[in-house]
Symmetry: C2
Subunit: 403 residues, 2 copies
């Protein structure tokens, strides 16, 4: 007998791990934890302006926003960071009205260098204020046309390596430069990513490696039954992380696989204390088509306490008195977890991050990047391309050129 | 032969429409377009404070936020509206730091009157500033304990009718009072809802009635194939609307149906100009499990123009010069619609709203409320209860009481 086949058997953990090792030097984001960040920190020291405006869309802004949104109220930041990331004229105008443009550094970020939305916004800014080497810096690929423009004007330019995809670029200059400028400790960010890197790439069996492989395998093996992956974040500070996750997951894992089948896992990001009053209903009673990942924060700095007062008529709620809000929100998370686990047929995992600090958010994000790569390997798809987005860009360009 | 059965045949449009007529006087939100709004407008005139803080969660804040977020930059509003809607201590603290509490009116909103999160936050506010009839107003059910509290302190209280569910309450006092106070024209809001009401409840065949029935029938008939309903909003101003839609849809339609089957349609809300760079990939190449509704805005007031300048090195993008951002964003929407329609196997509809005005947002929201009721009828479920949320509340209460 001879035997031939065109189907792909379920892959073993070892094969997948080896596939990651095989691409590790070609896919740039894996090794970002070990880059030299001196240039970002040195540049940050020279910035005089108090407002920092990132002009960039999608992968050029979402990751930076996620980290900034998570940390900005807990760190004593001296500078403010803004994002011009949409073509909505009302949004652009309302943000610009808040900013003293003369006291602003513009960071123009486009991997390709010719992103229509980014260049449009940058052109508009040019009509309001002269953009030159004193107030503009560029982050792009080394051989892009935006880099040519920067060179012609003597502007500082930082590189996005070709092999670092936009949605995996938060720990390159794309995120680290603006974050360093506003006063986030980027060495601490790197420390968080290294912790996950070391655990995952260890030759030994580690908790990090095991949970990542197990989770990716589970999500892919059950992807046709559970085609929706809900992240239930128990802190409003994680709203930016949710948005970043939706981009990373949707754009990396919505693909046609090696067998020509449409694959995909649909990301949903919700905020615990708010959405447990609504979306939880759909989880509890709706179709069993969702996995749920609850993210809890262990330590909230700057906690607040419910005072020991009685509201006449509402005495029945006095059991809340003297409770800290951090305790209330953690109890809310635990109640949601218990509601879900009581049902026994909804896959649910819980990630508890240490606190509202650099290492907590960067390790969470780097872990999700690795999880994305792992899922793609298990699914026999390419996590790093985006043909569906590119085809839309071609149609848009034709429309804009009136063709 | 005799014949008995326990299954439910597909319902006709006429039967569903009749079922809506049958419940029209029992389910309060249907008739809100015709309520007397004088009391809200009169109260609004008396408010001296410049900051208005809504203390409320879920249905007590999301709809108001949706309308405020949509309109706030286009109207010349004199007062600012804030929302304390989460138990995240960092969120509470960062918002309070922005507000002069001495120049603030607090609107405490809780339908039941005993919402744990709302009362916790209100207690905390009481520890910062004396809350009395001069700076606090209450919106709740007439016989709630919060109403008792308000009466004991001589505070003004507005009613949430018992038969208006929280997530359907935006056009009751819950939304109209704070919106009237900050200067939104609530008569115009009502005019938008009436337009949809008149079209839908007309005895004749109207475009509004037909599109609502067709859409609800389609979504339900294909709910097992297309279990995810994506709203792709082409304006950042619709971010609040997206969140409100997610609550309305998830909590109303995630239910066990009359046959004991788990039903549910999963809402996803994304922002066009940003997410067409990411989530669109999942739509285009991923599994065919999604319907897509694109929302376009016809007229953006306060438009901006891309200036007629050339950036050296980026001459290839000069075709953007002199284009208005409103035109760019509409072209982006059209490119996305064309990308999707080219595939021929993704159900897609397009809603174009007139502009950034009261009638546009209120008619959109009222239409979605009707669509939700219709889907529930076609699905043989109760749109207006939420047993899955209630069970979570019971668990939370036990945890907080240490039981």
């Amino acid at each position: 007998m001879t035997y031939a086949h065109n189907f792909n058997p379920t892959i073993s953990d070892e094969t997948v791990f080896q596939a990651i090792l095989d691409e590790k030097d070609d896919i740039g984001y894996y090794n970002l934890p070990f880059q030299d960040t001196t240039a970002f920190k040195e540049y940050a020291k020279t910035v005089q302006q108090n407002n920092i405006v990132v002009i960039g869309i999608g992968g050029s802004s979402l990751g930076t926003y996620a980290i900034y949104k998570f940390l900005k109220h807990s760190k004593n930041l001296q500078k403010k960071l803004f994002f011009l990331e949409t073509t909505d004229p009302i949004d652009i105008q309302s943000k610009i009205q808040m900013i003293d443009l003369k006291d602003t550094l513009f960071i123009v970020i486009s991997k390709s260098g010719t992103t229509v939305e980014t260049v449009s916004i940058f052109k508009y800014i040019n009509s309001l204020i002269k953009c030159d080497k004193n107030n503009t810096v560029v982050i792009t690929e080394n051989d892009s046309k935006l880099n040519t423009y920067a060179k012609m004007h003597g502007m500082t330019a930082f590189e996005i390596p070709k092999n670092v995809g936009g949605r995996f670029s938060v720990f390159s200059a794309v995120g680290l430069l603006p974050l360093a400028i506003v006063g986030i400790d980027i060495d601490e960010l790197m420390r968080g990513t290294k912790r996950i890197y070391d655990g995952f790439f260890s030759a030994n069996k580690t908790a990090i490696k095991e949970r990542l492989l197990n989770k990716a395998r589970f999500l892919v093996e059950y992807k046709n039954k559970f085609n929706i992956n809900v992240i239930f974040s128990y802190s409003s500070r994680l709203e930016g992380f949710n948005k970043w996750y939706i981009q990373l997951w949707g754009e990396s894992l919505g693909k046609i696989d090696v067998n020509g089948s449409r694959a995909g896992l649909t990301p949903v990001g919700i905020i615990g204390p708010i959405d447990q009053h609504s979306f939880l209903q759909l989880i509890i009673e709706g179709r069993r088509d969702k996995t749920v990942t609850v993210i809890k924060v262990e330590n909230f700095e700057n906690d607040l306490q419910i005072p020991d007062i009685t509201l006449e008529g509402l005495e029945e709620l006095d059991y809340l008195n003297n409770m800290e809000f951090s305790s209330l929100i953690k109890n809310q998370a635990d109640a949601t977890i218990e509601s879900i686990n009581n049902l026994k047929d909804i896959p649910c995992d819980v990630m508890t991050i240490d606190g509202v600090c650099e290492t907590a958010i960067s390790s969470l994000m780097y872990e999700y990047e690795l999880l994305t790569s792992l899922c793609a390997k298990f699914m026999y798809i390419d996590a790093y391309n985006q043909p569906g987005v590119e085809s839309g860009k071609i149609i848009l360009k034709k429309k804009l050129q009136g063709k």
